[in-house]
């Protein structure tokens, strides 16, 4: 508690200025990195010699980068729930699945009984609902936000571990619903384990992005990420965000100070779910389909690991964590395995040690850097309270 007091009284003004300056630095860094990557893959890569291209393809294929950006979008959503509001959510995959299926429903030939085309890339003769990606993103986000409210309303009265268990339950139920939803009173809503594929290409004015338009897709995903970051940062500094942080640090104290617990928590859940939905739509268009039995628990866990590893509550940390883990999972470990196996003529199956690595990394993080790779300054201050001013705290308590 003494920390909040300290920042309030003495160093409020300078700290805020310092913080926003640091945020600006990160934001500029993000834009510069995104532009550099975009220029590299669009213009430089094609002129590299074959060998170098192969190396880039093996270690940093553009498609893995795009996939990682999808993870970033969803992880930023989870960061609002876990990082800002401190609500442990073990079922975030539910929103990812709902978002994915929104894309499946509104951007494919699945509902063949209708023929709706709204600014879509697919030819008019193809039956089904074909709505532009830009519209579906919002539909997906809003549907998820709505479900976030519905799921949140009864569960958010619970605290910490109990809440985690209930969200875990929802994370299991919703994908199961999609698995079994092929016959709802005779209506095929989800196509069961067969899933819905293929999903329409993303359209930008004048063209439809084929699966090989990596640069364009990267640009779009970066745009979405930037929007999520902007939203997160603005919300955090606002009234709502400060209420979230207050709840995270001490729910009882926050409610004593007049923070409406239920409403504040629900809004965190809804905003997080919105991002999860956008991530789901982006995922479905990246993959080109949705498959019910692929939305499993491990996705929730990896998203959570991204948030914790990167630095709970710090959007830049979460972004770095998500990029890192997504890359390790999709490309890094297999590529590293190939390198080792080819060099030493071994046949070790490196990717199968993925979770051992995650687990080990998380244990080490908890031992040596509890606040994450790029910590949130506030969290860091709390976690290192003892090191800095132990006697004072001792006296205060």
């Amino acid at each position: 508690m003494s920390i909040t007091k300290k920042t309030d009284s003495k160093s409020r003004r300078p700290k805020a200025v310092k913080q926003s300056a640091s945020q600006r630095k990160w934001a500029i860094g993000f834009i510069v990195a995104a532009v550099a990557i975009w220029v590299f893959y669009t213009y430089i890569m094609v002129h590299l010699p074959d060998g170098a291209q192969t190396i880039v393809q093996n270690w940093f294929p553009p498609t893995a980068l795009n996939e990682a950006m999808v993870w970033v979008i969803a992880a930023l959503g989870l960061n609002i729930v876990v990082g800002y509001a401190g609500l442990l959510d073990l079922g975030f995959v539910a929103f990812w699945a709902i978002g994915g299926y929104t894309a499946g429903w509104f951007m494919s030939s699945f509902f063949r009984q209708v023929n709706i085309h709204i600014l879509s890339t697919s030819p008019k003769v193809v039956p089904g609902m074909h709505i532009s990606f830009w519209g579906v993103i919002f539909i997906g986000g809003l549907i998820c936000a709505f479900f976030g409210l519905i799921i949140g309303a009864p569960t958010l009265r619970l605290k910490s571990d109990y809440l985690a268990l209930v969200t875990l339950g929802f994370g299991e139920i919703i994908p199961q619903f999609f698995v079994n939803g092929s016959n709802i009173g005779g209506f095929n809503l989800t196509n069961g384990t067969q899933g819905i594929s293929p999903v329409d290409n993303i359209g930008v004015p004048g063209r439809s992005l084929s699966p090989f338009d990596f640069s364009w897709k990267f640009f779009i995903f970066v745009l979405l990420t930037a929007f999520m970051v902007f939203m997160s940062l603005r919300l955090r500094t606002g009234r709502l965000g400060r209420a979230w942080l207050a709840i995270r640090e001490d729910e009882l104290a926050a409610s004593m100070m007049g923070v409406p617990l239920m409403r504040t928590k629900l809004s965190a859940y809804a905003v997080g779910a919105f991002s999860g939905g956008v991530g789901g739509v982006a995922y479905a268009t990246h993959v080109g389909g949705v498959f019910a039995d692929r939305f499993n628990f491990s996705i929730s866990i990896i998203l959570l690991a991204m948030v914790v590893l990167g630095g709970m509550g710090n959007v830049w940390g979460v972004m770095v964590g998500a990029l890192l883990l997504a890359w390790i999972n999709s490309t890094g470990l297999p590529a590293f395995g190939d390198l080792v196996n080819n060099t030493f003529h071994t046949t070790i199956n490196f990717p199968s040690y993925n979770f051992l690595l995650f687990g080990g990394a998380l244990v080490l993080m908890m031992l040596f850097r509890r606040e994450g790779l790029i910590p949130e300054s506030r969290l860091k201050a709390i976690l290192h309270e003892d090191d800095e001013s132990a006697p004072e705290i001792g006296g205060a308590e």
């Binding site: 170098a52 393809q57 594929s197 293929p198 090989f212 990717p351 040690y353």
Partner: protein
Amino acid sequence: MKNRFRIIGLVAIAVLAVGTLSACSSANTLIISSDLPLQGSSFDSNDSTNKAIALYLKQINYKAGKYTVKFKIYDDATASAGSWDPAKCTSNAQAHVANKDEVAVMGTYNSGCAKVEIPILNQAPGGAMTMVSNANTNPGLTKPWNPGEPAVYYPTGVRNYARVCTTDDNQGAAAAQFAKSIGVKSVYVLNDTQTYGQGVAQAFTTEAKKQGLIVLSSGPFGEGWDAKQPDYTALFTKIKALNPDMIYVGGIFDNNGGQLMKDKVAVLGNNTAVKFMAPDGFTGYPAFSSMPEATGAYLSFAGLSSDLLTKIAPTGAGARFVTSYIAEYGKPPVGSYPVYGVAAVQVILAAIAKSDGTRKGVTDAIFSGSGITIPANESVLGKSLKIDPKSGDTNAIDITIEVIKGGKETTLTAWALK
């Protein structure tokens, strides 16, 4: 800051240097790849497939016509998913296309993964890239099945997908024909309410009616069993009143198949009194075959098992290959899919030999004109293998019938579909 730039510069130089060193490949070397899940429960089978393909390429000296062929392995599973991962399938498909020397893909193992990869390979700039699968049994990939299939998977209108294994609908049909041959007169059909189970059960029901069997269950795919039920006594008591000769179960063992088997025997008696038959969703589970109640249960399997290959044509190319595999790796291939993987590679190699060495050439060789035929004396399936250039389906619609004996799946016969 200065230091950082220096590091970036060094890295750039290193990358370029390595690039120029390895930038030498001859024009006549082509790459074919395999795209299989190498994590989780299907690892053994797919690892064996990769080994079999590597061995086969070594045996033919890496030659296909005037081209030299290199083999590249892709893994379409991620550790976090524990099995095939749609995102990995997407990125693999894009990587196949990005890899300039790669002309064709052997894969995938899972039909779901194929549904993601086929449309991407289909849209490859410069012409669709061919994929030949050894294990996809979902009918919709190549022929009309669900609404819109198979056209939805081929956005450019060109076909680029073939398979050397047969489809679920054939398996159900073969099971019905086999049932008739062992004197079954009436049958009750169950399904596990999932796509695969319903598909097989539907094919079985249709063929059984055609064969003149009395189908006692109603509906196109019989009655569904709920995998979450603690027991099925009531279900089988109801069936007992109808007095069927056989119970056909379309589904996978994971959906509480053990309990179903137990209750079937408890209510209807052992598998000689009332026969029990299931598709390949029940094969490969020691937990099932070791059940005392399962003794005498019939299983069907899409394809020929390796031991059947050596039994049917002991001097044929298939038997020789299995023998050489055992000699090389000290144990037989796991399941039957590895041999089918080699058969798929044979199709790809024949197409390369017929082509001009480009992706489009390979695709055209399979999907235009007379298509690809592997003569019986070369085919590892022990008989001539022909790919239909219109659909990409195979003529080798072999089904193996197995029976559980002494706690093990034992091959009973190969069933040639009528």
